[in-house]
């Protein structure tokens, strides 16, 4: 297997970026079909918290999605609802609805009181569903869309003898409706380009809100859509400005980076308690939180340089994390506190944090290969080929052999031509993290042998993990990667091959801004590219057949 000359490609890429950045407007794109995306688990949870409050508990299991172009949020555009998945959505919907109308919440969340609590009240139900439905369906309800939950609530209230139980039934119906579960985009003729289509205003509002906030549009954004302001540059820019300045941007970006780093697996990360007694579920949860706080603090709160995420010593620490980082925490029960690793500490940057180091390891040992692959694929957007299917690993990896360190063992892979190509992409990077064990704790040796963490990333030498972070900071693939991922996140699809120049343009603008993420978000969110769509091919209803086994 030949090795891709990554560094030379990257150097060429930088030159292209510089040229692309000279332009003043993004290169045009024809866009793709409008998307129909199933809400991801974080989006679902965020919407419920935004609309009804964070006191509403969301339980249940979501069907797994397929990570596409590095993001579950892109895989959502192809995701189906299975029978078991719908059963879960139904269960969640009923539990949420019951909490919304419970005595503790109804006075805040229901905009009126029924004439009699024991029976239906159409006017009050109409007022509730009109408001809630607008936020849940992400557009003002049509007369028919409003009639249905009102009728359901009325019938249920009469049957159950309770206005609020009826209201809960109607709300549960909304929460299992495809109008809620799927983010469905619609097009309309584009008056500025005869024969072509554009996203309608509410679809634009959805793209903006899921891109920046990971949630449903708020009232002001929907109002702007209703007035047609999102089709006008001034109106669009005003909304984007407001959204980027909103505190909701923080939760939106947490959601994005959680997806980009594939941190969903941290929730069930398991380590061997005999080998790593300091690691626990609480540590895993706090490790995720630490990294997301570090990111938000750096790129949103302080509007810092994105690349500094790979070198920053500033972070946050909690009691459980203090034990695994072996640093004193003055008030272990006080939640997260700002913390800065000293200059002589090897820890600097995201990849040296417990979250990343532990997640990309085995339960009882580190894994330079998993770590190297994660850095290449998640942070630099480079594809590492899958391992070949016919290699006898035991030829070169024998725990009883004198190879005591991971470097010794992996060096043996170089003897196998089928392995060496890919391992040269991952191992020189991953071995740079060997001073962090499988739980992310610092160490200087493995099995009594000193660890050599020196390596090279795309032409830049380093001698330890902090140096690896500096090499990543200087790697042009790192900012280009976050541009790629953010654009994919906003459009809910993989960038098209024809959009190469567009991504290079955004990357150039990102560089010009000093790699400020809010500037990049603003640039993408106000671009025509974010909303560019082709006319969808619509089939006639007559040719659609029921799915096999349809029980009806």
């Amino acid at each position: 297997m030949s090795i891709r000359p990554l560094h030379s490609l990257l150097v060429a890429g930088v030159a292209l970026l510089a040229l692309a950045a000279c332009g003043s407007a993004p290169p045009p794109t024809a866009g793709a079909d409008p998307t129909v995306r199933l809400l991801t688990e974080p989006q679902y949870r965020q919407i419920i918290a935004d609309v009804f409050g964070s006191q509403i508990v969301v339980g249940g299991t979501f069907d797994p999605m397929v990570r596409t172009n590095g993001l579950l949020a892109v895989g959502a555009s192809q995701a189906h609802v299975t029978p078991a998945g719908l059963e879960q959505f139904d269960r969640m919907a009923r539990a949420i609805a019951a909490q919304v109308v419970a005595a503790d919440n109804r006075d805040v969340l229901v905009p009126c009181r029924p004439a009699r609590a024991e029976s239906a009240d159409e006017a009050c139900a109409r007022a509730f569903f009109g408001q809630a439905g607008r936020l849940l369906y992400r557009h003002p309800l049509s007369a028919e869309e409003l009639r249905v939950p009102v009728a359901v609530a009325g019938e249920a209230a009469d049957r159950l003898g309770s206005f609020y139980d009826g209201l809960a039934a109607g709300l549960a119906g909304m929460l299992v409706s495809p109008s809620f579960l799927f983010v469905i985009e619609s097009t309309e003729p584009d008056p500025a380009a005869p024969g072509k289509v554009r996203l309608d205003a509410f679809s634009k509002a959805q793209r903006l809100s899921f891109f920046l906030w990971g949630s449903t549009p708020d009232d002001a954004l929907l109002a702007a859509a209703e007035k047609g302001e999102l089709h006008e540059r001034d109106g669009l820019e005003a909304q984007v400005e407001r959204m980027v300045a909103s505190p909701r941007l923080e939760s939106g970006m947490r959601m994005f980076f959680n997806d980009m780093l594939a941190f969903e697996d941290l929730a069930r990360l398991e380590k061997d308690s005999l080998i790593y007694p300091a690691f626990s579920a609480a540590v895993a949860a706090d490790a995720r939180e630490q990294t997301l706080r570090t990111i938000v603090d750096q790129v949103i709160t302080h509007r810092g340089d994105y690349r500094d995420l790979f070198t920053t010593r500033k972070t946050f620490i909690s009691g459980p994390l203090g034990r695994i980082y072996r640093v004193p925490v003055a008030r272990p029960d006080a939640g997260f506190m700002p913390y800065e690793f000293p200059e002589d500490d090897p820890r600097a940057g995201l990849i040296t944090q417990v979250s990343f180091a532990a997640l990309y390891s085995h339960p009882g040992r580190s894994s330079p290969t998993l770590r190297g692959r994660a850095i290449r694929e998640l942070l630099l957007c480079q594809k590492v080929p899958d391992p070949p299917g016919n290699v006898d690993f035991s030829l070169f990896n024998d725990p009883n052999a004198p190879q005591r360190t991971a470097r010794d063992r992996l060096t043996a892979h170089a003897t196998q031509a089928a392995c060496s190509g890919c391992h040269k992409l991952t191992d020189p990077i991953g071995l740079g993290m060997e001073n962090l064990d499988g739980a992310g704790q610092l160490r200087t040796d493995e099995s009594g042998a000193p660890i050599d963490a020196a390596g090279n990333l795309d032409g830049i030498d380093f001698k330890d993990v902090a140096g690896l972070g500096r090499a990543m900071r200087e790697n042009p693939a790192a900012p280009a990667c976050v541009v790629d991922r953010l654009y994919a996140y906003g459009t809910a699809r993989a960038p098209l091959k024809s959009e190469k120049a567009l991504l290079e343009y955004f990357t150039g603008e990102f560089a010009d801004s000093g790699y400020r993420v809010p500037e990049l978000l603003r640039e993408i969110a106000t671009s025509d590219a974010l909303f560019a769509v082709k006319a969808p091919a619509v089939q006639s209803a007559a040719v659609v057949q029921p799915a096999p086994g349809d029980p009806s």
Partner: protein, 458 residues
């Protein structure tokens, strides 16, 4: 709280209405007298005891030469070697399929993935996430899942919901039940109607739920017109799921038929209880969770809650581990020293043995539930497969497969079937045919087959 939906209001208390609903008193204890003479059908309705289909999955295959002794010709008698010795008592309930191949027509062997996808879908994947066709359990479900609460029940004992090897396509895959407590709550919780309980009271809340879903389905039809073909197919799948849920509610509104095989299982220990088993990948934990979940799953089948069941004992990369050991089962298969005297990797072999022990437990669980004149095992067909033959080198040709159960007498058992290099899809095709599917051919490209394994068809 900061919410988008709110109104300023004062608090007040509201009397909540009491649920209505009539109680229907029906006292019909179920006795064997309700069976016909042969014990294969219900005497009162004449309906045969249904034949159900399930799968059992284990990761990382076998230790060649130490699991099942090879044969040169198909015939009765399976020679269980050390790794599979716990299956010996079940020989007459099993078939073993060896020597079947998995031709990929030049496609890559995506390690620990291609094997299970090809044997379950009949097609080789084109990437490490591609599921090119529905898995066979769902094809059988389309045929027989009919009148049960759950179209399928999918479980995994490794505690990770995405470890489910039942899928309709790449992006159409349900989460598995990964906790015994949740499985119990879903199947035997408040919505379970005990068929042998005299009293049956239709729950008015269920009626309300059904009308809610009907309204949602009707209201959502207009959406179809807005969508392109691919997205309409996804919406159709959504409607199918809605109808399945409506069907489930319909069943909850009817008094279930008395059923002697059905007894309410013991509730698993909850978190915080003494002896509660947490989810995890330590092998003892997985074995115990599997034992508990197998009991719940088998009883869900006996109680006619589902006719399709899928159990994943270990994931396809088998992350099973022993406390204090740095190597997981998967790592061991690649990195443990091959013991020249024993002829295998001893610790990896130990894990393989535990997996076959678990398969024996699964079979015994079905065998221990009386049904009709025999046991539940008589009326199920279990397709048990893995993704590799020899994990050490990721080989997929010769991947081992078992069937367990008698499928209501439709399958011969106690046979060692020799594949002679035929595609592995012959096993799946034959299993589906035994389950009543009118299927002449299954699979694609070189995995396509129309050759039934007639030796096992009764």
């Amino acid at each position: 709280m900061t919410v988008l939906l709110k109104r300023p209001a004062t608090r007040r208390s509201v009397l909540r209405g009491m649920l209505g609903g009539a109680s229907v008193g029906v006292a019909l204890p179920f006795l064997d007298v309700f069976l016909n003479e042969s014990g294969t059908a219900l005497a009162d309705t004449g309906a045969p005891i249904p034949v159900r289909f399930g799968t059992w999955y284990w990761g990382l295959g076998h230790t060649p030469g130490h699991a099942i002794a090879p044969k040169t010709k198909t015939g009765p008698g399976i020679t269980f070697l050390e790794e599979c010795k716990s299956l010996k008592p079940y020989e007459q309930h099993l078939n073993y399929f060896g020597g079947f191949n998995m031709p990929l027509d030049g496609r890559s062997n995506y390690t620990h993935f291609t094997g299970w996808v090809a044997s379950r879908t009949g097609s080789a994947p084109s990437s490490n996430s591609d599921i090119p066709a529905p898995t066979l359990d769902l094809l059988v479900a389309d045929q027989i899942a009919g009148n049960t609460r759950f179209r399928t029940i999918d479980c995994t004992s490794v505690g990770i919901p995405r470890e489910n090897y039942s899928a309709r396509s790449t992006n159409n895959r349900a989460a598995a039940e990964a906790s015994a407590e949740r499985l119990y709550a879903r199947v035997f919780g408040g919505e379970f109607a005990d068929p042998n309980k005299g009293e049956f009271t239709p729950d008015p809340k269920v009626m309300v739920r059904k009308s809610v879903l009907s309204a949602v389905r009707e209201d959502s039809k207009a959406l179809e017109k807005k969508l392109g073909a691919a997205d309409r197919a996804r919406l159709d799948e959504y409607f199918t799921s809605i109808r399945q849920l409506e069907n489930q509610l319909d069943l909850q509104l009817k008094k279930p038929e008395p059923n002697a095989a059905c007894t309410l299982p013991e509730r698993p220990r909850k978190e915080g209880d003494e002896q509660h088993i947490k989810a995890g990948l330590e092998v003892d934990t997985v074995v115990e969770n599997h034992r508990i979940m197998a009991k719940l799953m088998a009883m869900a089948v006996a109680c006619n809650q589902t006719r399709i069941f899928n159990m994943v004992f270990s994931d396809n990369f088998s992350h099973l581990r022993r406390p204090g050991q740095t190597y997981t089962h998967h790592l061991l298969t690649h990195e443990e020293t091959w013991d020249k005297e024993l002829g295998y990797q001893p610790v990896a072999f130990w894990f393989n043995c535990r997996q076959m022990d678990a398969f024996a437990t699964f079979i015994e669980t079905f065998k221990s539930i009386p049904e009709g004149a025999g046991t539940l095992l008589d009326n199920v067909l279990i397709f048990a497969a893995t993704e590799t033959n020899y994990a050490r080198v990721h080989s997929i040709d010769g991947v081992p497969v078992f069937t367990a159960g008698h499928a209501g007498g439709r399958i011969k058992t106690g046979l060692h079937v020799v594949g002679n290099g035929d595609p592995i899809t012959r096993v799946g095709l034959t299993a589906m045919q035994i389950m009543g599917l009118s299927l002449d051919t299954w699979g694609t490209r070189s995995l396509q087959t129309s050759k039934t394994i007639s030796e096992i068809v009764a």
